[in-house]
């Protein structure tokens, strides 16, 4: 219990520090959201009108005042109003969040499963043609930029074969409920998800292969083999389980990587996730939206890492015993 409380306290501290940095960092870059959105390039508004607009978004106050107001808003669940979208930041984030969870969530899970299993298989058959083929293939795909993979998939499966739509998360004006809607969303998810998996699976594969190879070299595994443990059980119940630990450790960090990688892929597929939202908000210097999005990403990464850490005892009995000993 103490370990859990300690972990929660650490996470809170990380969130507070990250939130402060997220508040301050966008202001270091030159630019102004009102200028970007309303001034255009024709000088349509006077300086006084621009000042009025800034005041409307609370951007006329000093940075410390804005910081205090930001924390006050956080405690009320108010993240402010997006300058770019002219709507509450919470609303803008919530309408994008499901699509990001769908794309990044499924991609993270699939990349983790495929990468781990393929890595474990390659390690188990280390030196074989299968291992060499897998490593070569993974390195080739890993060397390709994500947007390039996406463009190739679009060219082949959308343009040439016509199997999948080339853009969007849901058909505008299409079914909005029932299995037809689910099928339509799944259909549109295939290409961006495959792209994101291919763009990120390499790291997991190599990590799993390395961990599995190390585990397979352990003396206790030789002992198990000598005791007559069947090879399949040896691989799945002993070697793989131990090799999973470093993979699980990187899973939380991969969420952040996936989110950043999704920016480009969301752009290629016009997928309405948080990645493209953050990109657009950065260009437009939409400070309220940037803060909200960064907060959401921070919470996601911190929560994922906390969950992974809390899940260690389930994966590794030694951690469970150590924890029990501590408490």
């Amino acid at each position: 219990m103490r370990a859990v409380m300690s972990r929660v306290a650490q996470s809170l501290l990380v969130v507070i520090v990250a939130t402060t940095l997220n508040f301050a960092l966008p202001h270091l870059a030159p630019g102004d959201p009102v200028e970007y959105l309303y001034q255009g390039s024709a000088g349509s508004l006077t300086a006084e009108q621009l000042d009025d607009l800034r005041a409307g978004y609370g951007l006329d106050a000093s940075l410390p005042e804005q910081y205090v107001a930001y924390w006050g808003g956080l405690f009320r669940g108010d993240l402010g109003v997006s300058v770019q979208h002219n709507r509450p930041v919470v609303d803008v984030l919530l309408e994008r969040l499901p699509w990001t969870l769908l794309l990044v969530g499924t991609s993270t899970v699939i990349a983790a499963i495929v990468g781990t299993l393929a890595g474990a298989f390659a390690a188990w058959r280390r030196g074989s043609r299968g291992d060499v083929g897998l490593v070569t293939g993974v390195l080739v795909v890993d060397a390709m930029p994500g947007f390039w993979i996406g463009m190739v998939l679009v060219a082949v499966f959308a343009v040439q074969l016509g199997w999948f739509p080339s853009f969007g998360a849901a058909a505008l004006g299409g079914p909005t409920a029932g299995w037809a809607a689910v099928a339509a969303v799944a259909h549109r998810l295939v290409l961006p998800m495959t792209t994101l998996v291919l763009a990120t699976v390499g790291g997991t594969f190599l990590l799993a292969r390395g961990a599995m190879s190390t585990t397979l070299g352990e003396t206790w595994l030789a002992m198990a083999r000598a005791k007559g443990v069947p090879p399949r059980r040896l691989a799945t119940h002993h070697a793989l389980r131990n090799a999973l630990l470093p993979v699980a450790t990187t899973l939380g960090l991969n969420v952040a990587v996936m989110l950043s990688g999704a920016v480009v892929i969301e752009t290629v597929f016009a997928y309405p996730g948080l990645g493209s939202l953050v990109y657009d908000a950065t260009i437009a210097r939409d400070y309220p939206l940037l803060r909200g999005a960064f907060l959401l990403v921070t919470l996601g990464v911190v929560a994922t890492n906390a969950l992974v850490e809390l899940a260690y005892p389930l994966l590794d009995p030694r951690v469970r015993r150590t924890g029990r000993g501590r408490s």
Partner: protein
């Protein structure tokens, strides 16, 4: 549409001239019409169709054979390049979309010199500071409420009160509408604070009308996120920032039911993605310019039609007139003379357009001084620089003044490759006359701050239609800091012309003053047009082939969609069907 498109070919001028000429003849047939070439009079009727209850018809229309119908379509999917929110006129919005929902008293825009009646049945100038508009009596808002003179008065008042309206200064400054008097349900009078001969041709063709019963209780117009209620040919029935817009035809529209029943507009920001969707047939059209590299492949595709349109915009090099040496007119003139605009066009835009040597107002608008010409003249540039004692004393190829090299930066957005290429060429051209320029790439967000921070020597950016085709905006730009900053930064010659412009009380006089201001600007420009680009746009004619060009709007606008005879009557088409 985004300001990355190009401008019309010279050949486009011919039909535009014909259209203008037709409109001139047409107005001459009306009871009290006045053309710019007429003798100035105190009373000026812009246009007045005989039967205000009928859909607008062109006075110049010789008969039904002048229009052709492209037929109807139940549903079209048009990729739109950006999320413009729920089309709140007081927040970020795009006029290609808001024009579907909202109407104006006159149509189609200030970018033609003969706007025609639309929500108004006639507009008449009673004296130099007073105009009267008679309204159609058959117009209803999308919610069924009648459109009345009270809505017009309310709209002007709301724009005056709003701190953020794109139209605010067009009712408070250029021109200044002091009062809108409701005479009766279908008659309003506009009382200006100083002579306003452009009110009919510019302002009333620019102001979209808003419903009083919807907006009267709104305290903060900028915060409105409800779907808009207009009188326009389309209702916005659905908006979702994650997917896009759905518009349904307004079957009760006074000009007749639009030709397309439903417009579905997914938001696709990436041009490559949008044009891939056009190629696969997932969308029927893309509301943005075709990139130069895709023009030929699309022209070769039998399922896709590419049309060269005439976007009224161009990239420009803005000079910081408040900072030495750009504060010297001779230096700005030297820079202008050193720019080889044809080379910029040929290299950056592959020759698809026109050399930008006809001034700041786009030459396809009626508001561009017809005699402007700025030929490339490096020798003249060198003479001007010599006259400023900017001389290469040490023989390194760079001129010095007071011992320091004449050097400056050209800032440009890092995500605009064509503008970067233009900036690199400018560095070479300025180098040829002994000036040391360098390109500084910035992220787009930082570019937006330059206008107010004034932290630049020069930068490349796109000049939008509103800035280069609207004559009142041109005047406003002399005061806003964009082209000049009167009265904060003295410029007596320009200030005098602006005052003369304000004092002029006829269209002819005011247009002459405008042309003089353009000539003065061009003699020592604070902003140098780089090239007038062409604007190819693409659609799939198999689903609907009715897209037609409207001045300043390209193909994708309401004038393609309303009954063709109404669009022709509104003088809204570059190439009216014959």
């Amino acid at each position: 549409m985004r300001p990355t498109r190009r401008c019309p070919r010279a050949g486009r001028l011919v039909p535009m001239v014909l259209a203008v000429a037709t409109a001139l003849v047409a107005s001459g047939c009306s009871t009290s019409g006045q053309q710019p070439d007429d003798e100035p009079t105190a009373s000026t009727t812009v246009v007045a169709p005989a039967d205000s209850s009928a859909p607008p018809t062109s006075p110049s229309e010789p008969g039904p054979t002048t229009t052709t119908s492209p037929g109807t379509s139940e549903r079209l999917v048009v990729a739109f390049p950006s999320d413009e929110g729920p089309l709140n006129l007081f927040a970020q919005h795009e006029e290609a979309l808001t024009e579907l929902v909202y109407d104006k008293l006159l149509a189609p825009s200030p970018y033609v010199d003969q706007p025609q009646p639309w929500l108004a049945s006639s507009v008449e100038q009673l004296d130099p500071v007073t105009w009267e508009a008679r309204l159609r009596d058959d117009v209803t808002w999308h919610d069924g409420e009648p459109f009345t003179a009270a809505d017009v008065a309310f709209t002007v008042d709301l724009f005056k009160r709003s701190p953020s309206g794109r139209w605010t200064h067009h009712v408070t400054d250029t021109p200044r509408i002091d009062e809108v008097e409701v005479v009766d349900d279908t008659t309003v009078r506009f009382h200006c604070g100083y002579p306003c001969p452009f009110l009919g041709t510019v302002t009333l063709a620019d102001l979209p009308m808003l419903p009083e019963h919807v907006w009267s209780d709104v305290e903060d117009p900028q915060a409105v996120v409800d779907l808009p209620v207009g009188t326009g040919p389309y209702r916005l029935t659905s908006y979702d920032a994650t997917s896009g817009y759905v518009f349904e035809a307004n079957g009760d529209h006074f000009a007749g039911a639009p030709m397309v029943d439903e417009l579905v507009m997914p938001i696709i920001e990436d041009p490559a993605t949008a044009f891939t969707a056009l190629r696969t047939g997932e969308v029927d059209a893309v509301a943005r310019l075709v990139p130069p590299e895709l023009v030929e492949p699309f022209r070769a595709d039998p399922d896709i039609t590419v049309v060269d349109t005439s976007p009224l915009l161009f990239p420009e090099l803005r000079l910081n007139f408040g900072r030495p040496p750009f504060d010297q007119p001779e230096f700005r003139a030297a820079l202008s003379a050193a720019v080889d605009r044809q080379a910029l066009l040929d290299t950056v835009w592959l020759g698809q357009g026109r050399s930008a040597d006809q001034g700041y107002m786009h030459p396809d608008t009626p508001w561009a001084a017809p005699d402007l010409s700025t030929p490339t003249d490096p020798a003249a540039a060198e003479r001007l620089l010599d006259g400023l004692d900017m001389v290469d004393d040490d023989g390194d190829g760079v001129r010095e003044v007071d011992g320091a090299p004449v050097a400056f930066t050209i800032k440009v957005a890092a995500n605009e490759p064509t503008w970067i290429r233009a900036a690199e060429l400018l560095v070479e051209q300025f180098g040829a006359v002994g000036l040391e320029a360098s390109v500084e790439r910035l992220d787009p967000g930082a570019m937006g701050d330059l206008f107010s921070s004034r932290d630049f020597d020069s930068y490349v950016i796109g000049a939008p239609t509103h800035g280069v085709a609207d004559p009142t905006q041109f005047v406003m730009s002399q005061e806003s800091g964009y082209l000049w900053d009167l009265p904060e930064v003295p410029y007596p010659e320009m200030a005098d012309l602006v005052e003369q412009w304000r004092a002029s009380d006829t269209i002819e006089d005011r247009t002459d003053r405008l042309f003089e201001m353009e000539r003065l600007l061009e003699s020592a420009p604070t902003s140098i047009p780089l090239y007038y680009p062409n604007g190819p746009m693409a659609f799939r004619p198999g689903t609907w082939a009715g897209w037609v060009e409207s001045p300043g709007y390209g193909l994708f606008h309401k004038w393609s969609l309303v009954p063709r005879e109404a669009a022709v009557a509104a003088n809204a088409l570059v190439n009216p069907p014959e």
